[in-house]
């Protein structure tokens, strides 16, 4: 590594060469030198003082005005020097924050992790991709002692770290629900009370909660302002909106949710998503729900997991690989 004295010497050499002969080559030395000064954190005012001492050593009869002007320039450049050092410090801090956020994202991933359960007669596929480091979307599966499987999909209004922190709270609240109370309506009603009490008044959560009973093949569900999913009727070969009315979590303390039921026939499908899926923006505008249905149809021959993976890849491509919002897609498919 080169020392400072060494760099002063280098400057002297490069400048003298250029003063002797104004060639491209000599000028290029200056360019190379400037990269080296950045590497060694030499400030702009130091370079001017190198310049001045080189001139003084080279020319004995240098007019005082030139020297004074260099002192003046040095003073002016001081501000840049300070700004440069600040910039360096910020760069360093940013690096630190970045790695901290990466660690937080990993912690979140572990905290919110959920396993896709094995359910009789039901195939499940799920994917969730954050737009930035941390995910404000959340999905969760629970299986109770009667083998009924509960599926939750939620989206915090807001993005990034605050949203992600909020999700951890939801997960905790869901884990502490009593085992016998996984009816969609009561799940949403108790979570609503938790969110209303605990979260910042401008932060809200949309959630869809469904419960599939593998014995009766009934899917019961309720929604708190969540983007409606689709229901695929294999017999009619037809998609319909899985509409459920209900207010966002955290707005009104005493919100009651309506619970709906559907008999799931062999080959039928339930598609759940976050609004990141329908808010995908392409150069031609938003993705219509119709387009999404076309994507689903195109992949219908695949397994549920392959379906969600493929649909995600296709939507990502349409948006030129730039997600604007967190993206979550879940498909439940009753085996034929």
């Amino acid at each position: 590594m080169e020392s400072r004295e060494n760099l002063e010497e280098k400057y002297r050499e490069a400048l003298s060469n250029y003063l002797k002969e104004q060639t491209e080559q000599a000028l290029y030395q200056g360019q190379k030198y400037s990269r080296k000064t950045i590497e060694h954190k030499i400030s702009p005012e130091e370079i001017i003082s190198f310049h001045k001492s080189t001139l003084m050593d080279t020319y004995e009869d240098l007019p005082d005005e030139v020297l004074h002007s260099l002192d003046f320039l040095l003073e002016v450049m001081m501000g840049y020097g300070i700004a440069y050092r600040e910039h360096q410090n910020l760069k360093h801090l940013q690096q630190e924050l970045k790695s901290e956020i990466e660690i937080a994202a990993n912690v979140q991933h572990t905290l919110l992790g959920t396993n896709i359960p094995k359910v009789k007669d039901l195939e499940i596929g799920a994917i969730s991709v954050p737009a930035r480091h941390m995910n404000g979307d959340y999905y969760h599966f629970v299986q109770d002692e009667n083998q009924c499987v509960g599926v939750a999909i939620a989206d915090v209004i807001g993005k990034g770290i605050p949203a992600a922190l909020c999700m951890s709270m939801i997960k905790y609240a869901m884990d502490s629900l009593p085992d016998h109370r996984h009816f969609p309506k009561s799940v949403l009603e108790s979570l609503n009370r938790v969110v209303e009490r605990n979260v910042d008044p401008s932060m809200f959560i949309t959630m869809f909660y469904g419960l599939f009973d593998p014995e009766t093949h009934i899917f019961s569900y309720a929604s708190a302002g969540h983007e409606p999913g689709f229901y695929y009727d294999a017999d009619k070969k037809e998609f319909t909106d899985l509409t459920a009315k209900g207010l966002l979590l955290g707005v009104e303390k005493k919100t009651q949710y309506e619970q709906y039921e559907k008999y799931v026939a062999p080959g039928d499908m339930i598609v759940l998503m976050s609004d990141g899926v329908t808010e995908c923006r392409t150069s031609e505008g938003f993705i219509e729900r119709k387009t999404l249905i076309e994507f689903i149809e195109k992949n219908m021959h695949l397994s549920a997991q392959e379906m969600v993976n493929n649909i995600y890849k296709q939507l990502e491509k349409m948006q030129h690989f730039q997600l604007r919002d967190d993206f979550t897609l879940i498909i439940l498919k009753r085996n034929v």
Binding site: I157, P201, S202, T206, G225, G246, L247, V251, D275
Partner: protein, 110 residues
Amino acid sequence: MNIMIDVKDIDSKATVKVKGEIDAYTAPKLRETLFPLSEQQNVHMVVDLSEVSYMDSTGLGVFVGLFKSVRSHDGEFRLVGLSERLRRLFDITGLADIIDINSNAEGGVK
């Protein structure tokens, strides 16, 4: 991504016109501009969204926050000029049942 917020605030009657996009980047500005207005006692706040070309759920969060703040100060809060897409957003989230989004821009403002 840009937003323009036009505010007329006379005797606790706040008429607001928003132009542009409301998303994670512009929502903080919207919140900062409108929140102080919503904290006046008995405020009547009308927000015209007819020139909003895009709004995501972050924007929704701002309006719910405003609505709650206005309500806690015994005021009235209305949104007017919603496009089909915006209307759908308020319908899905159940907010259309608690926030007035159906009156027209002229009614009762002047």
